[in-house]
């Protein structure tokens, strides 16, 4: 199970890559493996205002439908349109496949999240 350096991690298995005031968000390798083959990703509309904790994305695999929550408050800046035709890209490359990005209203919200080591320990404790 891969954990990539330089990213922030949430307890609901999302990763966050910070670029200036933009947070790019995806799901971790652990998450994609638990979900199984992903068949559908429903992304929010660009421009949607989300609060930290809001349900932002829906991911459907062959066996489950899961929500992905916004880790920070802000405005949806960009969405990965390739996921409409090739949702399985997340399974193949979880860290290289962003789902959507948020222009952050309050970057200090990132402070509560884990770094790579802390996340690895968190996942190991789960199993």
């Amino acid at each position: 199970m891969n954990v990539e350096e330089g990213l922030k991690y949430t307890e609901s298995h999302e990763w966050i890559r910070v670029e200036g005031d933009t947070a790019l968000i995806g799901i971790t390798d652990y998450a994609q493996e638990s979900l199984g083959d992903i068949v559908f990703v429903e992304v929010p509309e660009v421009g949607t205002i989300v609060a930290k904790g809001d349900e932002a994305v829906n991911i459907e695999s062959v066996k489950v439908a899961e929500a992905v929550y916004a880790p920070v408050t802000g405005t949806v800046k960009d969405v990965n349109e390739d996921l409409e035709d090739a949702p399985e890209t997340i399974n193949k490359d979880a860290y290289g496949t962003f789902i959507y990005s948020i222009t952050m209203a309050d970057p200090s919200e990132l402070n509560s999240y884990m770094d790579a080591d802390a996340y690895k320990a968190f996942v190991d404790a789960q199993d």
Partner: protein, 450 residues
């Protein structure tokens, strides 16, 4: 007389012994004493099979078969004998939840063909393995459009919907933050101008619009301009269409509908006493993930051979669980199989012919009741196989005269909905009604009004 219970006393003792129970009564030890039924059941004693047959035959002889000109949602059509012949097969009738692909290819294929037939007649590419009935289908379609548009909460519903559909919609959305706004009729139809002003009032919160054609009066709604208006207002368009009418009339896809729904009773199912039938639902690919219920798909097995399976199951409520958007977890397999056998027996040509025959049969009786008997239309203009007249004569005399003639002449619409004027009477004429039966109706009507 044997009780038709297969276990012998020796088998029962062996089973009790295996689980460590002393007697069958021991299995009910958790039911409080005071709640246990402890007196003999009050039923007459057993009878010989021939005596039972005589008793039932005597009861059956009390039935009076009448000629049905009543519709109001359930219609009396010709049903080719192949329908009951195939649906009566044990493999279809007795199967319970037959969806394991390893052992249910026959039923899965039949349901796939049902879905394909519905997609073909509605013109919309995605359909499911059926819902409970037309009213449920309409409600589920409303739920789909509400869920498909964030922050929407308003659905505009035609005032000319069947009252039972209105009732089910009310129940479905009673405790949710959803507003159903009725589009009032103008002389038995809903006008485009009524729609456009309601769309403007609904504004941003509009999810969609639901209209039924033919409507409760049997009148065909003119849906010209409707889909453009609804889409321009950022809503979705749901058309509830009588499935048999689609053999001759414009399809929901041709009207620009996003979702088509309806009740499949006219497709090879008898009227029974109001059920069972099935509901159908069809939509475009964009709404496929929002569609509730079971969907059968065509795939390949491990050996590369074509096989049918339930597919897109992550939509279903037992997978979405607390995030489910619908409670639907079942369908009406046997009814849907009857529907697809019926449609297959007719084929596209037969389907179009039956549809046309319904139109001309109803037109014939309607013309005669107006010209020869002097009754008046409530809604002039085109209908399918049902029309509504104004009958201001004595209702009891009308009902009793026809009862004596052995005819059920139609439905008093106020019986379905008290707010409908008491003089509106709906008459259905299907391809099953013969010239002799129409003559008998005319003669009886003359007598009832004399």
């Amino acid at each position: 007389m044997i009780p038709y219970i297969p276990h012998s006393q020796a088998e029962i003792s062996a089973m009790l012994d295996r689980i460590g129970a002393a007697s069958v009564d021991d299995l009910f030890v958790d039911i409080p004493e005071e709640l246990r039924f402890s007196r003999p059941i009050d039923l007459p004693g057993s009878m010989a099979e021939s005596d039972v047959m005589n008793l039932l035959a005597a009861m059956a002889n009390e039935n009076r078969t009448k000629t049905l000109f009543a519709g109001g949602g359930q219609y009396d059509h010709v049903i080719p004998s192949v329908v009951s012949h195939l649906t009566g097969r044990a493999e279809f009738v007795t199967a319970y939840t037959p969806y394991q692909p390893e052992i249910s290819q026959g039923i899965l294929q039949a349901l796939f063909e049902f879905q394909s037939a519905i997609a073909e007649i509605t013109g919309l590419p995605v359909s499911n393995a059926s819902l409970y009935d037309g009213a449920t289908a309409a409600a589920e379609a409303c739920a789909m459009v509400l869920n498909a548009k964030r922050k929407s909460r308003i659905v505009l519903t035609a005032g000319t919907l069947h009252p039972h559909t209105k009732s089910v919609l009310g129940t479905y959305f009673a405790d949710l933050d959803v507003e159903l706004v009725e589009l009032p009729e103008t002389s038995g139809r809903v006008e485009l101008s009524t729609l456009t002003s309601a769309l403007e009032s609904a504004g941003e919160e509009l999810a969609g619009v639901l209209v039924q054609t033919p409507n409760i009066y049997g009148a065909l709604e003119d849906l010209t301009g409707w889909s453009d208006a609804v889409h321009a207002a950022n809503g979705r368009f749901i058309v509830s269409a009588h499935p048999l009418s689609l053999g001759a009339l414009a399809s929901p896809a041709e009207w620009g509908a996003d979702i088509a729904v309806g009740d499949t009773q006219p497709l090879g199912l008898p009227p029974y006493f109001g059920g069972p039938s099935a509901g159908y639902i069809a939509c475009g690919k964009d709404l496929m993930r929002r569609m509730p219920g079971r969907i059968v798909g065509e795939s390949v097995d491990a050996d590369g051979k074509s096989a049918f399976v339930l597919t897109h199951q992550a939509r279903e409520q037992h997978i979405k669980r607390e995030r489910a958007t619908s409670n639907i977890c079942s369908n009406q397999s046997l009814a849907a199989i009857a529907n697809v056998v019926y449609l297959s027996a007719l084929g596209p040509t037969g389907f179009a012919q039956v549809s046309e025959q319904n139109i001309s049969a109803a037109a014939e009786l309607r013309r005669r009741l107006i010209d020869e008997i002097g009754l008046t239309d409530y809604v002039p203009g085109p209908v399918f196989n049902e029309f509504t007249l104004r009958i201001s004569a004595d209702r009891k005399k009308w009902d009793d005269t026809f009862a004596d003639c052995g005819i059920v002449p139609g439905v008093w619409l106020s019986d379905l909905d008290e707010s409908i004027p008491a003089d509106l009477f709906s008459v259905a004429v299907t391809e099953k009604r013969t010239a002799t039966e129409l003559d008998a109706y005319i003669a009886c009507a003359r007598e009832a009004l004399s």
